[in-house]
């Protein structure tokens, strides 16, 4: 949220209330999820959300290394979020930077809430999120994909976590910011949500919002998470009822 002024003459919302890519304020970008796409991982999911392309892989429960990190009472859910060097316009140096470490931390915490970690003491459940193409909203895309990958791995879970951001552009609260909206917008609110119990497990915000705008944005994100949750479930149903194929159609929204 640099609050950088937009290039002259460009508005993020036009006179018809439409956004740069033609969406309504409360409209998601197209979302497609495919479960169980990798052979080596115990569970996996591939997600395309607008221009975002994200792969999530799950390994475990398996012995936790190094030993001193083992928890004798439960499994450790460790998420590793990574952006491929070519996923953004300016090549990113390989390896974890501070941003990706923060995202890994909050994603691990969100996923820990839904996994029955007490079933697997001393183990580690490792979640790898690889962003192959990035276009705003990758942490929500990663968390959404990771939930499906955990389920695909057969790990007992309380529920799936769905994730989506709301934001503010041109003083209007909107859903699921695109790349230009992220660069030139006024605020971003990524939310991770569990529909069944009305629980928020991931929440960040940056920018400038009144308390009312925040409330509106939070609700908008929550409603979107409910839709995303259905796409996640569809992806899993499709995997476990249809013969899955590399080129098979994933579950979709919009």
């Amino acid at each position: 949220m640099g609050g950088t002024p937009l290039p002259d003459g460009i508005k993020l919302i036009d006179e018809n209330g439409k956004r740069l890519d033609g969406r309504r304020p409360d409209e998601l970008r197209p979302l497609k999820i495919e479960a169980g796409v990798l052979k080596r991982a115990n569970g996996s999911a591939y997600l395309e959300w607008g221009p975002n392309k994200v792969m999530a892989a799950v390994y475990g429960p398996r012995e936790c290394h190094p030993r001193h990190m083992q928890d004798p009472t439960k499994a450790l859910v460790q998420c590793h979020y990574n952006m491929a060097s070519f996923s953004v316009d300016d090549r990113k140096r390989p390896g974890p930077d501070r941003r990706s470490q923060e995202i890994s931390k909050i994603t691990s915490e969100a996923l820990t809430h839904v996994v029955f970690t007490e079933f697997f003491p001393k183990t580690s459940i490792d979640v790898y999120i690889e962003v192959l193409q990035a276009s705003a909203g990758t942490r929500c895309a990663g968390l959404t994909a990771a939930s499906v990958a955990l389920a695909d791995a057969g790990i007992p879970m309380r529920d799936l976590v769905a994730s989506c951001a709301a934001g503010k552009i041109d003083d209007t609260v909107v859903l699921d910011l695109g790349k230009e909206e992220d660069n030139f917008g006024q605020a971003d609110i990524p939310v991770g949500y569990i529909p069944r119990n009305d629980e928020i497990v991931l929440l960040q915000m940056d920018g400038d919002l009144t308390a009312d705008q925040f409330k509106t944005g939070l609700n908008m994100a929550i409603e979107a998470c409910k839709k995303i949750y259905e796409v996640q479930r569809d992806a899993l149903k499709r995997k476990y009822t249809l013969p899955a194929g590399r080129n098979g159609e994933g579950a979709e929204v919009n």
């Binding site: 640099g2 501070r98 941003r99 931390k105 909050i106 960040q204 940056d206 409330k215 939070l218």
Partner: protein
């Protein structure tokens, strides 16, 4: 295992008190710890502050150096925030490069300063595209009894308010006070069971289910937020923490 048994006992004790409406140190649920702020604590820094928030003790130093702007903000200074959570301050901290915890603390404090537009970064431009002031905000934990997010935010804001741009030393004209436009203040609450407590101590932090930091400005608007921990908040709980943060933040702001 011993560790975990201790944590369980501690949790039981704290929870039992909370159910009677009491915190271990006698505070009310929405009451932060006593705060003392000492500006200009370090003369070698361009701005500095020493802050005690209860027994949590933090020193922040601000350094300003001439450097290059980022290509996409050619007429703005650069902000870099770093948090040192070293074993000096707690057995819970480890030596070595910044871990996820210290990165999170630094980034949340940074986000407050940045998104809260604390400093007028355009006034840190020396020559567009060529030279700007690089502002380093270094947060050092000295004694850790919980809630480094707020202690660090307070110390950072006090240090910024005390800072002077050392233009003369760098042959860039006369010194001038760092242009602080806004004072974003973060307030952190934790959830233990169904209870929500502000400004947690270390013991409250380690037994907490979840944590929420909300940073607000003078107008009561929100500029940054961060949920942590493996627990969850219900939407109405989030809104309650937002309200607490606006109220308590205003109070803290008056003390810096």
């Amino acid at each position: 295992m011993a560790k975990s048994v201790m944590a369980d006992l501690k949790r039981d004790h704290i929870t039992k008190l909370l159910s009677k409406g009491m915190r271990i140190d006698g505070r009310k649920f929405d009451e932060p710890r006593p705060l003392t702020v000492e500006k200009d604590f370090v003369q070698s820094a361009e701005g500095s502050a020493r802050v005690h928030l209860g027994d949590t003790y933090v020193v922040v130093g601000v350094k300003l150096m001439v450097g290059q702007p980022f290509a996409d903000t050619p007429n703005k200074g650069v902000l870099t925030t770093n948090a040192e959570l070293k074993p000096l301050a707690s057995e819970a901290f480890e030596s070595g490069p910044p871990d996820q915890r210290s990165i999170e603390v630094a980034r949340v404090i940074d986000r407050g300063i940045r998104e809260g537009k604390a400093v007028d970064m355009e006034k840190l431009c020396i020559e567009p595209e060529k030279e700007v002031w690089i502002m380093f905000v270094d947060v050092h934990a000295i004694d850790y009894d919980g809630n480094l997010f707020d202690a660090g935010n307070i110390a950072a804001m006090a240090a910024l308010k005390s800072a002077v741009v050392p233009a003369k030393r760098a042959n860039k004209g006369e010194d001038y006070p760092l242009p602080v436009s806004h004072v974003p203040i973060s307030v952190t609450a934790v959830k233990i069971g169904e209870h929500i407590l502000v400004d947690p101590t270390y013991d409250e932090e380690i037994v907490a289910d979840a944590r929420l930091t909300v940073t607000t400005n003078e107008k009561g608007d929100l500029c940054a937020m961060q949920k942590g921990g493996s627990g969850s908040f219900r939407p109405e709980e989030v809104l309650r923490v937002v309200e607490l943060s606006r109220k308590i933040g205003a109070d803290i702001r008056s003390k810096i």
